[in-house]
Amino acid sequence: MKKSSILLIAIIAVAIAMILVIYTDSSTYSTFSEAKEKQTELYVVGVLNKQKSLDYDPVKDPNHFSFHMFDNDSTECQVVFNGAKPQDIERSEQIVLTGKMDGNVFHASKILMKCPSKYNQDQMEVIESSSAFNAAITQ
């Protein structure tokens, strides 16, 4: 089994390299202030500010939805999403945004919401909306 042993070692090496790359690909859950510093695409977790208005006027622009969110440090920031308003965002308990900071506005490419079920508090539903339809396979 010598040949296969050599192959096995090669394949294990590929696997290790792969896992390292997975972790370089991986991202972090961060805050708006970090997003300002880093200027890269990342996740921000937070809650919707229900005091401020959620603006979506499809008659004017069906691809512009803006709202305000507090991150986990309670920093508030305006968020702009290039797409339709996700249903039921008002009811969300927690929002996970994917996107990057642009000046003082966070541009979200994806919004993932956790909504409490109306009926029991320990059940969650998760709804996702994505503004960018992803064409598959990149280089």
């Binding site: 089994m1 096995l8 696997a15 997975i22 039921d88 994917t98 541009h107 009926y119 969650m124 064409a135």
Partner: protein, 819 residues
């Protein structure tokens, strides 16, 4: 409980719960008895006990299912399961879907399939029955424990489908003796699941998951009983069956995602999709190495290990999807039932059984000291299996990030954009797999003739170059080197296996199954690649979008298009008109007319109406759209509603308030002094004051001698030519003046004959108009998926190939050939 609740039907639940406990006890007894029967094959007592217990378990499982169905079907909302997953309005086929919407129902489904498979095993496995059934019944015991729902030493074990609503929830009203009369309906089925794929996708998928236990059991029994080489032949048809069914189940899921979910595609590398495909890959690898071992005696350990690990990964998949651990990363994982501990134990036990057996028998595991030849089929079967395994490791590693976070307390987030992340790895693996799948067909076991091999391969490579260049050109995937490589690999695989298939027509039918399934897989891959790589959003909306110069990553223009009812919009090749909607509660269908117009003549070349629909279900998350797709041979046009005018979603379409005589719904009235024969305009047409009716009557008001009642006949002509009549009344009774208005509902008009002025010979008429209703609008997305039919065809071809292979291996197992 000393409250006497009214109207509860508690008997089905009590019977059901009894059978839940019985099924657990019977499975446990059957497991123990089969275990001892395997150790002492000559003592038939153990076997009789084991079989008896197995039949009791099977009957219990069927009874549980029947009672649960009875409860849901008859809307017994005193049971939490019926309340949480169904409602009275659901048609029967969706009642079936709601049966497995919850975790309890899907666990039951898994148990049920294991019973069915066990019946086949008991009938056919002969000397293998006891050891194989030992493993199956161990798994059945764990599954049954998931449904018990009883507290043991302060921890709840399992979650019963028969739990009562008042025990599951602590709402105040549930302590009212008459609470049932207050619960008018259940919460209903999630609209995303109201789709025919949801009726058949879960049963198929769970049959696939359930049948994965059989190869595990055979491999385990082989080690345990020291029948190392014997398990391959009976195990192979089962492994092929599991691969076929699980594959079909996964692709049905992707059909469902494509047709019913608003994900905008058929595969999104969502964690839930990933965990189902991992065991499928490992078992495919196992099948190939089993075949290699059978023919060459090489790679026994790999074959056994892969068959065992596949089922461990099935349990891992159900841990990930059912424990709630994916909550942050997945769209459609189950919510937690607080059973993650139980699932971890289930997973760990099977993992340790696997490791234990392999370590225990490590010295006896057959291995050959002989080096495989590089020009041998078994060598490359082995390599292919390893590549598949490495592909799995990549999927597992990324999908398990939440698990690593939970174990190590880290806060790593998955890749921002998972699809390219997975594609760059899996694309490379796919190329290698396709090439290996192609040229290995030209190698023989043990040793092949180098010259013959290379001459065949070189010819094939030349043909592949030409054909794949054509495919790349026609499908327009030349934008990316990876796309070209995958296409090349897949074409190579299809041609090589097609070449083998031509031999089959010359009478070598034995290899036809593998060739057909490989061709199917190649087609599937090309279809997936082309559809995903060249799909375009055709509702691209660049208005209101300003590219900012210097902004390094310019945002994409929006993908949602706004349509107002009756106003056509040009979109790519099509002219689109939103022509209205029809309501079939709870769904609203939006009719969108597509017209393809010939630029030169202006004639409509083709025309069709797509009806994507949406459900406004505030309890389930607002407006949930379901796509509608126009299928062509070469592409699909896919349409999805993302938002709609709220008034088309009033929950009761028949609520009209014409009974109310209030004037608050109308704009300020216009008062005209008119003569008979006058024509006046209103917003949507005109009306003619025709005549006075001096014999008008008013119900319930007797006409006194001095009283006067006049009706004023008005003819309304709307812009679309429709005519309406109205006759407002004027009344002088006992010297007082009254008037009675009349409405033309359809036009939102209200007329009052408010005065008669003889001195100026004029009649006074007041016209009220309702404000124009806001025009209905929808916001939608449209995506074009080219050549997706390859994907579906490939699936069908692959499944046929598996069927052929199963038949052949089953026959081989019945009548072993002298090899």
């Amino acid at each position: 409980m000393d409250i006497n609740f009214i109207g509860e039907n508690l008997l089905p639940g009590q019977i059901g719960q009894f059978f839940v406990v019985l099924s657990f006890g019977a499975a446990l007894l059957s497991f123990i008895a089969y275990f001892f029967s395997s150790k002492e094959p000559n003592d038939t007592t153990w076997k009789s006990i084991a079989r008896g217990a197995f039949w009791i378990n099977t009957i219990s499982v069927i009874t549980i299912g029947s009672i649960l169905f009875y409860i849901i079907y008859n809307h017994l909302f005193e049971y939490h399961y019926a309340y949480a997953h169904s409602s009275k309005a659901l048609p029967t086929h969706y009642i079936i879907s709601s049966f497995w919407e919850g975790q309890e129902g899907s666990f039951w489904l898994w148990m049920f399939w294991q019973c069915v498979l066990s019946v086949v095993l008991v009938a056919t496995a002969k000397s293998w029955e006891s050891p194989v059934m030992t493993f199956v019944m161990l798994c059945q015991t764990f599954l049954a424990s998931m449904l018990i729902g009883v507290e043991v030493f302060g921890t709840r074990v399992g979650s019963s489908p028969f739990i009562l609503l008042r025990d599951a929830m602590n709402w105040p009203i549930l302590s009212d003796p008459n609470y049932l009369s207050m619960i008018s309906d259940g919460r209903g089925l999630n609209p995303l699941l109201q789709n025919y794929w949801m009726v058949i996708h879960p049963p198929t998928l769970f049959l696939g998951f359930a049948s994965m236990i059989v190869p595990f059991a055979f491999a385990g029994a082989g080690l345990w009983q020291r029948r190392y080489k014997d398990w391959i032949s009976p195990g192979l048809p089962w492994a092929l069956f599991a691969v076929m069914i699980l594959g079909a189940g996964i692709i049905m899921g992707s059909f469902w995602a494509y047709e019913a979910l608003n994900f905008g595609g058929f595969w999104a590398w969502d964690p839930v999709e990933n965990v189902s495909i991992i065991p499928w890959f490992t078992l495919i690898a196992a099948v190939h190495v089993m075949v290699a071992f059978k023919n060459s005696g090489q790679a026994y350990f790999t074959a056994t290990f892969l068959a065992l690990i596949s089922f461990v990964l099935v349990i891992y998949a159900s841990y990930l999807t059912r424990s709630g651990i994916l909550g942050e990363t997945s769209v459609h994982s189950f919510t937690s039932l607080g059973m993650s501990g139980q699932l971890i134990i289930f997973n760990a036990i099977f993992f340790f059984v696997m490791v234990g057996l392999l370590v225990w028998r490590r010295k006896e595991i057959p291995s050959t000291q002989k080096e495989e030849d590089i020009y041998s089929r078994e060598f490359w079967l082995f390599i292919g299996a390893l590549v598949l395994t490495v592909a799995c490791i990549q999927i597992i590693a990324t999908t398990s990030i939440p698990v690593f976070n939970a174990i190590f307390g880290t806060k790593v987030a998955p890749p921002i954009d998972p699809i390219p992340h997975y594609n760059k790895w899996q694309g490379a693996f796919a190329v290698v797999i396709m090439l290996v799948t192609g040229f290995t067909q030209f190698l023989k076991y043990k040793r092949s003739d180098h010259k013959k091999f290379w001459s065949a391969i070189l010819v094939l490579l030349a043909v592949t170059l030409v054909v794949s260049a054509g495919v790349v050109f026609i499908t327009k995937v030349y934008t990316n080197v990876m796309y070209i490589l995958i296409t090349f690999g897949a074409v190579f695989c299809i041609l090589a296996n097609g070449r083998i298939l031509t031999d089959a027509f010359k009478g070598k039918w034995r290899l036809a199954g593998s060739a057909v399934s490989h061709i199917g897989f190649g087609l599937l891959l090309i279809g997936a690649l082309v559809a995903a790589a060249t799909s375009e959003v055709i509702s691209q909306n660049s208005s209101g979008y300003i590219a900012v110069a210097g902004f390094d990553q310019v945002e994409k223009p929006g993908e949602n298009l706004f349509l107002t009812e009756g106003e056509p919009v040009q979109m790519g090749d099509y002219r689109l008109t939103y022509i209205g909607d029809s309501v079939a509660m709870p769904n609203v269908f939006y009719k969108i007319k597509y017209e393809n117009i010939d630029e030169e003549t202006g004639k409509v070349k083709e025309e069709f109406v797509l009806m994507p629909f949406a459900q406004n279900n505030p309890q389930m998350g607002g407006l949930i759209g379901t796509p509608s797709t126009k299928h062509y041979i070469t592409h699909d046009v896919y349409t999805l509603i993302t938002a709609a005018a709220s008034d088309s979603h009033s929950n009761d379409p028949k609520a009209n308030d014409s009974e109310r005589s209030g004037f608050e719904d109308y704009d300020e009235p216009a008062t005209y002094e008119v003569n008979l024969g006058d024509t006046l305009r209103y917003r949507n047409g005109f009306f003619i004051v025709e005549s006075i009716n001096r014999d008008a009557k008013i119900e319930n008001i007797p006409k006194g001698a001095d009283d006067v009642i006049f009706g004023l006949k008005v003819r309304v002509v709307a812009a679309d030519g429709k005519e309406f009549q109205a006759e407002p009344l004027f009344l002088i009774k006992d010297g007082n003046v009254f008037d009675f208005h009349k409405d033309v509902e359809e036009q939102g008009l209200r007329f009052r004959f408010s005065n008669i002025k003889p001195q100026v010979d004029k009649l006074e008429i007041m016209v009220y108009q309702k404000p124009l209703p806001e025009k209905k609008w929808v916001v939608f997305k449209a995506i074009k998926f080219p050549y997706i039919n390859f994907f579906w065809c490939g699936t069908i071809v692959m499944t046929i190939g598996f069927l052929m292979a199963i038949y052949r291996r089953w026959k081989d197992n019945r009548a072993p050939r002298a090899s």
